[in-house]
Symmetry: C2
Subunit: 325 residues, 2 copies
């Protein structure tokens, strides 16, 4: 326990930062009519009847005068896509509203588009709060969109992975002596990957590509004209080793053409090969959209973000499939 006499502002702020928040931009008009806006995560709801919300603003803020004098202000709960906007309104200086087409609101306070929710308010009270002023506003109008909200935790932006309302178990509770459970990350990753691939394969029964062929065509779909070695540099981490025989088979099915240049065979995708690869990719995208419907757009965003962070952290040094050449 740290007692007040020894409060280190940075450590105290870090402890407060463990409380997760959304991110808002709050806007009003200055005495000169110019639009004013600040990023704030000190927003919260207060009362349903009357409908009241609050937030606090540093007494040292340049916008204090505007918010103290103008009764009308709008709270924008930012969407996950508005991280850049949050940064822009968090730092002073530049013209924060440049290039933003404002929506029409019930007052003259600027109303930003693309948010998860918006609350158009009028100051009900303003209260003393140490080095901040607490503004309590009555909500006169609000709206919301299906955009997943931006989250802020411990000084970093984040996206929320929501828990189901009831406990989620894939299997019966395992006996305590069990060597691993459904909670092992490697098990979950494998099962998730193979289930997705399994479902994809069933949809593709007509094309009857096995996993190895699917991966090879997917690589060629992005990066054509590869030697066997170059192909393997992209796929061998999966345990698949492309051989001349496998490629000959794909040639036989007219998915791939082999061009002999000098002493090297180079493989290119045929129109048929591209078509079958694109069909698979379209189905994989449909599968993802379907999951976003079921699990939530923001939740799938959280999953992909974490997969990407995992991939970056465990990259064995794969060549960049998308690099220009």
């Amino acid at each position: 326990m740290t007692s007040q006499a020894s409060f280190d502002p940075q450590a105290f702020r870090a402890a407060l930062g463990t409380f997760t928040t959304g991110v808002t931009i709050i806007t009003t008009r200055g005495p000169d009519g110019a639009p004013v806006g600040v990023t704030a995560n000190s927003f919260n709801s207060v009362s349903l009847n009357p409908p009241l919300v609050l937030w606090s603003l540093a007494k040292s803020a340049r916008s204090l005068e505007a918010f103290s004098n103008h009764q009308h202000w709008n709270v924008h709960v930012l969407s996950a896509a508005q991280e850049g906007l949050s940064g822009r309104f968090a730092s002073p200086g530049e013209d924060k509203f440049a290039g933003i087409e404002l929506d029409e609101g019930i007052s003259d306070a600027p109303l930003l588009p693309g948010c998860t929710a918006r609350f158009q308010c009028r100051t009900a009270f303003s209260y003393e709060g140490g080095d901040h002023v607490i503004f309590v506003g009555e909500v006169h109008s609000y709206d919301r969109s299906p955009e997943p909200p931006l989250v802020y935790q411990a000084g970093q932006y984040a996206v929320a992975a929501r828990k189901p309302r009831t406990e989620l178990r894939l299997a019966a509770p395992p006996p305590p002596e069990c060597s691993y459970t459904e909670d092992l990350l490697g098990y979950l990753l494998g099962r998730a990957h193979y289930q997705m691939l399994h479902a994809l394969r069933r949809m593709l029964a007509g094309d009857a590509l096995d996993e190895a062929n699917f991966f090879l065509l997917s690589v060629l779909c992005i990066r054509d004209d590869l030697t066997l070695d170059e192909l393997n540099a992209f796929v061998s981490y999966t345990g698949i080793e492309a051989t001349a025989e496998m490629m000959a088979q794909l040639e036989g099915r007219r998915f791939v053409a082999c061009e002999r240049r000098g002493r090297q065979n180079r493989y290119v995708l045929t129109a048929d090969g591209r078509e079958v690869a694109l069909r698979q990719i379209a189905l994989a995208k449909a599968q993802e959209d379907n999951l976003a419907d079921k699990l939530g757009v923001g939740d799938v965003m959280a999953l992909k973000l974490m997969l990407k962070r995992l991939v970056a952290a465990t990259d064995p040094g794969l060549p960049d499939l998308w690099a220009p050449r």
Copy 2:
């Protein structure tokens, strides 16, 4: 835009709920000295100097008298593991503090263990807030732990997947006509799975088990004494089809023993087989711990939660590996 006259309380609450929060339990003592506590997500920081925080409490709350009369209260920022505690303190009735061993604080306000952060406060102001009272407290002492915090969004508990501070890209920005990018969920899942497996295999070079053998031994490690058909019911979704020849090979390496009963061959793990499987599983767990260090414990929790939700949503009807029999 919904204007105030037509505010539907449920829709208004839902719009407010898009603003993400942490979850706190706030405790004090009643006039009779009994411990009092409520779950609140209306907490927020206000001021650094002096250190002030605020939260609001419904005027109809049974605990209002206690918080109005007793100056000392503690804010507990709940950890992801304390979802149950949140539920307990959110509903009236039972003895909320039953079975909880309290920590020693600077006042008599109950101090709960196991939290992400705790703030021991004394009321500085209490303000009018419609159907709620806003309590502003001066923080006299605080502490924090590395426990990842519990998150609340749109009426559901959640865990935060944090974004890196700089943009995370695995590859060069792809040309716009690209058929898929690193953002395709299926690509990310496959790449994450195979990279993890690839790293595991390198650590296991001595054991030299291929993917199929690894999966078969992992299944037998949890559920022994299976026929070939039963084994395949667990693994065939991965594209692996266990054959009598593969099993004979595992028998040859003395990882598996085959017991002939009636007309059926049943496979059991040998001591050697169990040892090699356990070594792999131990390494997979070490790999997961290492990732949690790199990516954050809460972030890996978010990843596993979403993988589990994905697995549940795409389950082709696999038998329960852990079911008692």
